[in-house]
């Protein structure tokens, strides 16, 4: 059964009582929410994901009002596994904080994977990793590529199996911030958006629902083929510049969440990824031009 197979009101009822258990690729989480306003957006953004029996879950998140005066302050909190408060926020920011909590768990516990801070999309089994710090434009490019038919694996983390280099997908909603929200609304008018959270520590945040086919094919093969380091600047000319692989290695290592934790295994995994990838910097301002360059890479590989 999928989330979308039950009504929004039933979903809201479950959220507020026993919770819902959702599978996103390799992870299963249970979500309970005592913030009624979050039910409809979560239902809309996760409608294609499997809703499963709550036998085995990796972790349990609870969204709830924070403190005795929450009715007056509007403060809420997200709690993981009934013991740790991850963040405190005003209720309109609940959805971003839910997504950040899901990311937090992956960064801290999913060490069966080599985890790179990167958006990942795939076509014909070949994946592009868009690496870089917040603000580099990776989520914007990711959303645009997904709108062009690339399969979404993640807008936030590349989960690489150290043994096979297969990249596992979570296909969760794409998080857009500030100006990139309108950019994608114009670029992909049919994209399904969640509500805008206006006052977060990252500015305005809105999420784009993953396409149904990305969720349906969540376990399809994807192996790293290209590593791009995008950098958005308002006046940049679109330019794709090859990076020597050893330099790309160091940059990707610094973008990895658990390179240090995995030690030698992290080194070997990243080295094997770099062996098979072409690595580039991508400077861009114009989204359409940037996509043309990226899709050109895919077409060259297809011909080769």
């Amino acid at each position: 059964m999928k989330v979308g197979d039950i009504s929004v009101s039933d979903f809201a009822g479950l959220l507020a009582s026993q919770g819902v258990t959702i599978q996103t690729g390799p992870f299963v989480f249970r979500l309970t929410s005592h913030i009624p306003s979050i039910a409809a957006p979560v239902w809309r953004l996760y409608r294609d994901f499997p809703l499963i029996e709550p036998d085995l879950v990796d972790f349990h998140l609870v969204l709830r009002p924070a403190g005795r005066f929450a009715r007056f302050t509007g403060r809420c909190e997200v709690v993981i596994d009934a013991r740790r408060i991850l963040s405190v926020f005003k209720s309109p920011a609940a959805l971003p904080h839910l997504e950040w909590a899901l990311n937090w768990w992956i960064y801290n516990y999913a060490h069966q994977f080599f985890i790179v801070h990167a958006a990942v999309v795939e076509r014909d089994g070949k994946a592009i990793l868009l690496c870089g710090p917040p603000g580099s434009g990776k989520s914007t490019l990711c959303a645009a590529l997904v709108a062009r038919g690339w399969r979404l694996l993640s807008d936030e983390v590349a989960l690489v199996c150290p043994d096979t280099l297969k990249i596992f997908a979570t296909a969760r909603p794409i998080s857009l911030k500030n100006e990139s929200i309108e950019v994608i609304e114009r670029f992909a008018p049919s994209a399904v958006f969640g509500p805008r959270a206006l006052e977060t520590h990252k500015g305005i945040v809105a999420h784009v629902a993953p396409p149904e086919q990305s969720v349906r094919h969540i376990n399809a093969d994807a192996h790293p083929c290209w590593i791009l380091f995008p950098s958005y600047a308002a006046d940049a000319a679109t330019r794709l510049t090859p990076i020597p692989k050893a330099r790309a290695f160091l940059r990707a290592a610094s973008d990895a969440f658990n390179y240090q934790i995995l030690g030698a295994q992290g080194f070997r995994t990243l080295a094997a990824m770099i062996d098979r990838c072409s690595c580039f910097e991508l400077a861009y301002a114009d989204l359409t031009e940037a996509l043309k360059v990226i899709e050109g890479l895919g077409q060259q590989a297809h011909r080769a």
Binding site: P244, K245, A246, L250, F267, I274
Partner: protein
């Protein structure tokens, strides 16, 4: 027995290195310290010599002078510079004999 005028270079205790190269650039991972370093071809060749077995600076100078077809007097400062960096990074120690 006369002491050698050259110090002996050897890997620090417990240092194990993993290597990967692309073109003329090398990445080396020091397993014990969990640290990664980017090396050029010359520095990598020096470290690999020391990794293979401890060497005197004199032996290294002779080896690389022959390898590069260069004057030992030109090679020695490059080796000393590389050695100082490796020592600073905790990769090698330079022992006076």
């Amino acid at each position: 027995m006369t002491a050698s005028p050259w110090p002996i270079w050897r890997l620090c205790d417990a240092v194990t290195l993993l290597w990967r190269s692309w073109g003329d650039e090398f990445v080396v991972f020091n397993v014990a310290a969990n640290q990664t370093h980017l090396l050029d071809a010359f520095s990598a060749a020096v470290l690999k010599q020391v990794e293979a077995s401890p060497k005197t600076l004199g032996a290294l100078t002779g080896h690389f002078a022959a390898e590069l077809g260069a004057d030992p007097g030109q090679v020695l400062p490059r080796l000393e510079e590389a050695g100082a960096r490796f020592a600073e990074l905790g990769l090698i120690e330079r022992l006076n004999t």
